[in-house]
Every structure is written in C-alpha cells, then in structure tokens.
C-alpha cells in the first residue's frame, strides 16, 4: 500500500481512539509510532521516534483545564516523517539526529494544530445537539442518536486529512532540509535521543514532589545507581 495512505489511515483510526473517548491508549505516541513503523516497514525506527516524543510529554496530565495536545497525530507524524525522509535518496543515514529533530518540530506543530482544530470543533459541535433535539422533538430518536455517531466520521477524516497533508508536504521538506544542512551543524544532533527525554523526566519529577512520592522517586533513582555501582 502507498505509505502516505497507510500512515493517513492509521492516523484516522488513532484519532478515533483519541477523540471519540474509545481511549484504548493505542493512540499514545509510543504506540502510534510503533504502529506507524509497522505500517511503513520499519518498526524499530518508528518506535524510536514515537518513544522520544512520548518521553518529552510524559508528565503532561490534563488537570486544571490544561488542554491536551493532539499527540496521537503527532506520534504518527513524527514516525512517518522520520522513516520516509530517511528513506529518501538525498539524506545521508548519518543525519538521523537532524531528521529526527525536524520531524519532532513538525510533530509538535501537528500536535498543537490538532488541539486548536479540536477546540474549534468543540465550540461549533453544539449544532449536532441542536439537530438531535430537533429530531427528538419529531420523535425520530434513533436518528437523533445517529447524529452523535456521525461525529466519528469527522474525527477520522480530520486525522486522515491532517496526516496526509503533513506527510505529503513534510517528507520532501524534511529530506531537503536534512540534505542542505548536513555536515558540521548536523552531526552533533545524533545525541538528541539521549537528551530530549530529560524534558519528560523533569515533568515527572514535578508530578512527584510530595513527601511520600518524592521519597519513592528518589528511591527509584538511587536503586538504579546503587545496582550499577555494585555491578561495576
């Protein structure tokens, strides 16, 4: 199957999981990345890209009205761009770090845009309730219920369209950028996968600042260190 179509179908399905409240959690970036990797024939690189995005957002929890970014679409976008751009002839395989950075930047944009689109949809979705009320008023209850389920098609379509557009436009752009910048500037970026997850570690630390949980966080940290000290 065409890789753009595979990635877009997957994104549509994961948007359903994420936005329809099915919430099996297969839409988390680490899982979305792996699934995109399988769809595009490179699960290892898909898992890597998805895991880096996931690790950056580990401590993000939807409390105090903080809106959730659309990480489902972000996960598919980062893995698809990363895998397909690396496959491009103009990209040196040693430029992986740079390709990952550009793919992550695009995925962050997709995640933020997805959230914006969702908020916009929420502010307009009352028309569905209005239509359902009208149908219920005429005694057509099953149809009123069907209005609710019709929104599933919208979630799928948004995921599909956004990912198709991002992958179609993004792969050549990422490949061109990576080809143009590759050299002294890009080589050190191979250390990114080792450093970016610290962002998630910091937000996890913030989540566990209480007395008991702070102690357990420290216990986990020290246990690993002690094990390694004794092993060496």
């Amino acid at each position: 199957m065409n890789p753009v179509l595979s990635a877009s179908l997957l994104a549509g399905a994961l948007a359903l999981d994420n936005r329809s409240s099915l919430r099996l959690m297969v839409s988390q970036p680490v899982c979305a990345g792996l699934l995109a990797g399988f769809a595009l024939g490179n699960p290892r690189e898909g898992l890597l890209a998805g895991a880096v995005l996931q690790a950056m957002f580990l401590g993000m929890i939807p409390v105090r009205g903080i809106g959730m970014s659309d990480l489902a679409l972000g996960g598919v976008a980062v893995s698809s761009l990363y895998i397909l751009a690396l496959r491009s002839a103009s990209v040196d395989p040693a430029a992986k770090g740079l390709v990952l950075l550009i793919s992550l930047a695009a995925a962050l944009g997709v995640a933020a845009a997805g959230r914006f689109a969702y908020r916009l949809g929420e502010s307009r979705a009352h028309v569905f309730t209005g239509a359902a009320l009208g149908l219920a008023g005429r005694g057509r209850f099953a149809l009123a219920s069907a209005v609710h389920f019709s929104t599933l098609a919208i979630h799928f379509a948004v995921g599909f369209a956004v990912t198709a557009a991002v992958v179609l436009a993004g792969v050549p752009a990422v490949a061109w950028l990576a080809g143009a910048v590759w050299g002294t500037w890009a080589e050190p970026l191979k250390g990114l996968p080792a450093l970016l997850p610290f962002i998630g570690a910091g937000s996890l630390l913030a989540l566990n600042l209480g007395r008991v949980r702070g102690f357990l966080f420290l216990a986990g940290f020290c246990t690993v260190m002690l094990v390694l000290v004794f092993r060496s």
Partner: protein, 273 residues
C-alpha cells in the same frame, strides 16, 4: 442487617455477587449490550454548551421505549437526557447505569421523581469524575507510559504491551463494570464502589513515583554513555527547567523551547569541540 442495607441501595463489601447478576449474565448482556458499546463513544460529540449531553442520550436511547411511562411522552424523556452532562470519561458509564436503573424504576411505577433523577445524575457526575480522572490521568497512565518509555529506550515492545494490558484492565473495569454496577445498584453506587474499583490507588501512585525515579536514573546513565559529563550536566539542567515549567498552561511551548535549547546546545558543543 446487610440485607437491609442492600435493600436501601448501599453496597456492602462482602465479596459476594449481587443477586441481580447471579446466573443472568447472558440476559444482562442481551438487554444492555446495545448501550454498553455506546459507552465507548460518549465524548465523540463533546461541545461547549452541553458537553457530553448528546453522547449521554445516545447511551440511554435504546431504553427509551422501556423507560417511558405508559401515556407519558417519550419526547420529554429524550429532551431531559439531551441536556448538559459532564462526568469525565471513566465513570460516566456508572452514572449512565444509575440513570437507567432509576428511569426503569420510575417506568415500573415506583415513586422516583424526575427531579430526583436529575439531582442524582448531577451529584454523581462531579463526585465520580474527579476520583476517576485523578486515578487514571495522574497515576495509572504516567506509570504505564514510564514503563513503556523505559523499555522503548532499549528497543523493546514489552513495556508497551504491559502498559496497554495494565491500563485496559482498569479501563474496562471502570467503563463496563461501572455501568453494570450502576444498573444493579442505582443510587447505591458511590464512595464504596469507587474505593473498591481503585483500591490499589496508593500502590499505583507509589509505583509511578518509583518508576519515574528509575526512568530518570537510566536517562542519566544513557547521557553519560552518549556524551560524558557534558551531557549529564545538560540533562540535569533540562530536567530542572522542565520541572520548574511543568505547571505552565502551555506544555507544548515548554517542550518546544527546551527541545530547541537542547538542539542548540548540541550544535554549539559540536562546533566548539
């Protein structure tokens, strides 16, 4: 004593199956199957005015003919349940179950006022949502994702599978189990039910904190192997900055700034060395 309390709708913790469920699982599924699959799409049409009102209606809609009293307008029933509804994701099913229970009692002619159903729906919505959201969003999901991330760092899928299994056990227990309990117990669903459902809350919270510590330690070790002391120091700086900025409203902006700073650090470091 316990039988008296059960008849009042209080769930007594004996570990026994409840009378309504004994030997009637197939009948229950046959009767409620059409509502159960709908539970999983309740937030699909979420909007700013009625939130999940339309989703809630889609769940109770299969009971419309059974729950309307003879001679009473089914349209009034539909309009009542198309209004505002906000019970979070995980225990909205329990609220739906309670409403189905009360509406059916009312349809049988028992003295259950419409106002009573509305007030129970509103009260349970807020009480159950807060507890369930905290358990899932602040404890279980971070724990599972931390485990998945640790295993993914080493190229393994095992942690991811463990996360999906662990999460979905509680997830299905809350959504399908919550609905079933709501239908069986009616207004009796409440603190005891939620406490039992999430009795491992403290353990999960502790494990989440411990796993986060393990994750942080492994990151420092990977950073040392990848770039020596320079990487370790930068990792500590990023970690501290992220912890300080974690409660800002725009998490994406925080992540973007720290990722850009890390890329800049690597590029400058590469040029200097």
């Amino acid at each position: 004593m316990e039988n008296d309390r059960r008849s009042e709708g209080v769930w007594v913790e004996t570990g026994d199956a409840l009378p309504a469920r004994r030997g009637s699982r197939a009948a229950f599924v046959k009767e409620h199957g059409n509502a159960i699959w709908r539970l999983f799409f309740i937030q699909s049409s979420r909007n700013d005015r009625t939130l999940d009102g339309l989703g809630f209606f889609s769940i109770v809609e299969p009971f419309l003919s059974k729950c309307s009293r003879p001679g009473e307008d089914a349209k009034a029933f539909a309009r009542r349940h198309l209004g505002y509804f906000n019970a979070g994701l995980y225990l909205s099913s329990a609220v739906a179950g309670v409403v189905v229970n009360l509406e059916r009692k009312r349809a049988r002619g028992e003295p259950v006022a419409v106002e009573r159903i509305e007030s129970v729906k509103a009260a349970l919505s807020s009480a159950l949502a807060a507890r369930a959201n905290y358990f899932f969003d602040a404890l279980l999901v971070p724990l599972g994702l931390t485990i998945a991330s640790i295993s993914a760092m080493y190229g393994s899928y095992a942690g991811l599978i463990a996360f999906l299994v662990l999460y979905n056990i509680y997830h299905f227990q809350s959504r399908i189990g919550g609905y079933c309990r709501g239908v069986e117990l009616g207004e009796g669903v409440g603190g005891a039910f939620v406490a039992r459902l999430y009795r491992e809350e403290r353990l999960i919270g502790g494990c989440a904190a411990f796993a986060a510590g393990v994750f942080a330690a492994l990151l420092f070790l990977r950073a040392r192997d990848a770039g020596g002391a320079r990487f370790v120091v930068w990792g500590a700086v990023v970690c501290a900055a992220s912890a300080a900025l974690a409660k800002r409203p725009s998490f994406v902006r925080t992540v973007a700034v720290l990722a850009a700073a890390t890329a800049l650090f690597l590029v400058i470091g590469g040029i200097v060395s």
